[in-house]
């Protein structure tokens, strides 16, 4: 499917698994998805407006009707040896799409890496969180070791009595200072 519609072969119908595609589109981008899908369907309909190959002409009929039957033969020869050039992608849209894809893949690779980092962090935390001591084993000393940023630290972060966050100057709940 990767080479679908790469210009080499003729495309007559959509080879994209649109249902699987829709499932992968985030909910807030479904509008864009629908517009895109409608466009594709319009193209397919436009393709099916005309027959696939050169329609047949009943030259025998014309031969009997034409005043000069040789003319019909001439027409037939010309019609059957007609070489219709397949239209080329003059705007080089495929190249543009390739560029888009390259940039998009780079961005999505970065995005996936970022998301993967988050997953790894969460997994690391999940794997280690059960190793925390139970509350009845935890002393204040242990707390200070396990959560150095949360424990009381009178040397580096001195606090006012009664040493609770809500009673420190600058705290939003503090009505005294």
């Amino acid at each position: 499917m990767a080479s679908a519609g790469r210009g080499s072969g003729r495309v007559a119908k959509s080879a994209i698994d649109w249902i699987a595609f829709r499932e992968r589109v985030p909910p807030r981008q479904q509008e864009y998805y629908r517009a895109f899908r409608a466009r594709n369907e319009a193209y397919v309909m436009k393709v099916h407006m005309y027959p696939e190959s050169l329609p047949k002409i009943d030259f025998a009929y014309y031969k009997s009707k034409l005043p000069k039957p040789a003319m019909a033969d001439e027409f037939q020869k010309a019609y059957e040896s007609m070489n219709v050039p397949y239209p080329i992608d003059s705007a080089d849209t495929l190249r543009e799409i390739e560029d888009q894809q390259e940039a998009g893949e780079k961005a999505s690779k970065a995005f996936i890496a970022r998301r993967q980092d988050e997953i790894n962090d969460a997994k690391l935390l999940l794997s280690k969180i059960d190793s925390l001591p139970k509350p009845e084993e935890m002393t204040l000393e242990m707390f200070a070791y396990y959560f150095p940023d949360k424990a009381l630290d009178p040397i580096n972060r001195p606090t006012f009595w009664p040493h609770v966050p809500s009673m420190q100057p600058g705290h939003k709940d503090n009505k005294l200072l």
Binding site: M1, A2, A4, G5, G7, G9, V11, A12, I16, F21, E23, R24, V25, F36, R39, V44, K46, V47, M49, Y50, P51, S53, P55, K65, L66, P67, Y79, V84, Y86, P87, D89, L94, I97, Q101, G104, F111, I112, R115, Q116, D117, E118, N120, D121, A122, K123, L124, L125, L126, K128, I129, P133, P135, E136, E137, T139, L140, M142, Y145, P148, P162
Partner: protein, 280 residues
């Protein structure tokens, strides 16, 4: 007697209660938090190395665990261990003898002087005993419940929340990755759209050729048939004209007379039968 006061809640709970509820580790969805989680885990690993690591002599110095309930007491306030200590050396009556002897010594040597204020001691301990018996269990229950709530709030819920958040983060991010991988459909579809447009243009060309050829052929056929029809018409007209010119006036009158005679004969032959006699 005092043992009912010594509930599971210790000084630890009191200390913790004065602090705001804390979140163990927040891993916000969609933010860069690698260092935060990694640092937190590193802190935990270092701390558990100190408190539970191989260097810790857990046999001789077991990790202190806060007792769920206070120890057993005899006579309401004397710890069981004291009796056990005497039992090994003096038997069952030893501690009681020691207690009575100690009391006697204290009183006889006037170390413990019974003065007029001693009545207050009796009243005070009597009231304490009474209160312990009546509202002690309720108070203990209340304290236990409070302790449990605090434990739930400060320890169990934060851990549960952190786990839930982490699981949610994993689920959300995995879904996001899965969706991101769906972009390949978009590129394929875009390429396919180009192909479809080219195909549509090609088919249109074919159709135009077909239509043009057919129109030319039809034109030729039409030209031929018109020519033939005109020739025929002209020939007929010419013949009729010449025949008409060849008729002389005598011939004309003769033929008219002949016609009239014919008409008369026909009229006689086709005359209607005589009208039937009228009814009487």
């Amino acid at each position: 007697m005092l043992s009912t006061f010594a509930v599971r809640s210790g000084a630890f709970t009191v200390l913790l209660r004065s602090q705001a509820p804390r979140v163990l580790a927040v891993v916000p969805v969609g933010s860069r938090s690698k260092s935060a989680a990694a640092e937190r885990v590193r802190d935990w690993e270092e701390a558990s190395k100190i408190f539970y690591g191989p260097e810790r002599d857990t046999k001789n110095f077991p990790h202190p665990v806060m007792a769920d309930r206070s120890g057993k007491c005899r006579m309401g306030f004397i710890p069981e261990e004291w009796f056990n200590f005497f039992y090994e050396k003096t038997g069952v009556t030893g501690p009681y003898v020691f207690g009575v002897g100690l009391l006697t010594t204290l009183l006889s040597k006037e170390i413990w002087v019974i003065d007029h204020g001693f009545a207050e001691v009796i009243g005070f301990y009597g009231a304490l005993w009474f209160l312990t018996r009546t509202i002690g269990p309720k108070f203990a229950n209340w304290m236990d419940k409070r302790n449990e709530t605090t434990t739930e709030e400060r320890f169990i819920k934060p851990i549960r929340d952190a786990k839930e958040t982490a699981q949610k983060t994993i689920a959300v991010n995995e879904k996001a990755i899965w969706r991101e991988e769906g972009l390949r459909y978009l590129w394929d579809a875009k390429r396919e759209n180009v192909g479809l447009q080219l195909e549509a243009a090609y088919r249109q060309r074919l159709n135009e050729i077909f239509k043009d050829i057919k129109r030319r052929l039809d034109y030729q056929v039409e030209v031929g048939s018109v020519k033939r029809r005109f020739e025929q018409q002209h020939l007929v007209n010419w013949v009729v004209h010449n025949v008409k010119q060849s008729i002389t006036p005598q011939q004309e009158t003769a033929s008219i007379k002949d016609c009239i005679a014919n008409l008369k004969r026909l009229a006689a032959a086709n005359a209607p039968p005589a009208a039937p006699a009228p009814a009487k």
